[in-house]
Symmetry: C2
Subunit: 160 residues, 2 copies
DNA sequence: CCAGTCGCCGGATATTTATTCAAGTTTCTG
DNA sequence: CAGAAACTTGAATAAATATCCGGCGACTGG
């Protein structure tokens, strides 16, 4: 069950897509097709459409955001609705949220893979995110900020 | 500042759009254009695109959902990520949520207009929604279920 | 009254994404 | 092994939505 035509199987391709999306700032399925081609993986836009839907990748403004989360749970796409402010400090990130939603926000952050966090603590309207170091703290803050900057939309429309 | 061409000003039209979306099960901008036309309001799809974006109407699966919420706060679009189960009983609706997210869910339900609710009480993973009567309870449960049935997406792309 | 601005709109078009259809493969079953 | 059933994919196409551009009426300061 591999090497259909372009040499990689579906799982590998989808993993590669996630990587490419994070590295380059891809924002369209055509762009993904191109980036894949550069890596020697040739697929059609239709396939990318299906892949993104299966991966649950979202679009923030006009960029894809590859931060997969545990399936069946909430992902970062809910953050814009709850997060009010984000302040990185040392190796921490202080996230201010709407009242009562801090618990939910921290629970979401815990489940999003790709974030370099050690742990989170939730109060009533504040979440403290502890990261390994200043760099990862800033990076994390930046990502959350990106997500909150614009409305997000699911890529794909997997209903079943 | 009114009656540009079709006889109604922008605000009136947008309000009408909200009504039409709830009444009929509109799912495309063309459909909205048509429904408006039936009411004697003639506008272009481009205008509807802008209106929906400004109104913050969402799309659930292939239907628009007109449940406006207080601007600047979370709307029902976050519910699919948090809600696990919905059970109407008498004049109440018991909503089971992921652990720690009940507070957020109840806070969202409180702010969504168009829901006939008297109040909500949140535990750790359960929200009790109290409605005026059995009918409104079932209706509310149905709406929440609809929202959770499929992934939602923002209509429009208001970034600024 | 006139010129400049501003918000709103329609028509046309571009952009982006989803889906349909028909293969090519693999897997399972009897 | 033959045949059926299930996946996966690409090409083409449809569908849906966003945007560009030009115009128009209202309003404002001079």
């Amino acid at each position: 069950m591999e090497a259909t035509k372009s040499g990689v199987d579906k799982a590998t391709r989808q993993a590669l897509i996630l990587t490419l999306i994070s590295e380059k700032g891809l924002g369209t399925q055509q762009g993904v097709v191109g980036a894949l081609a550069d890596k020697g993986v040739e697929v059609a836009q239709a396939t990318v459409s299906r892949d993104l839907a299966e991966l649950g990748v979202l679009k923030v403004g006009s960029k894809y955001l590859a931060l997969p989360h545990d399936p069946g749970t909430a992902g970062i796409e809910v953050l814009p609705s709850f997060v009010v402010g984000i302040v990185p400090a040392q190796n921490q990130v202080v996230v201010h949220t709407r009242d009562g939603t801090a618990g939910a926000v921290s629970s979401v952050l815990d489940r999003v893979r790709g974030l370099r966090t050690i742990g989170t603590i939730a109060g009533q309207d504040t979440v403290l995110v502890v990261c390994p170091g200043p760099y990862s703290a800033r990076k994390t803050a930046g990502l959350i900020a990106d997500v909150c900057r614009a409305k997000t939309r699911p890529a794909g429309n997997v209903v079943g």
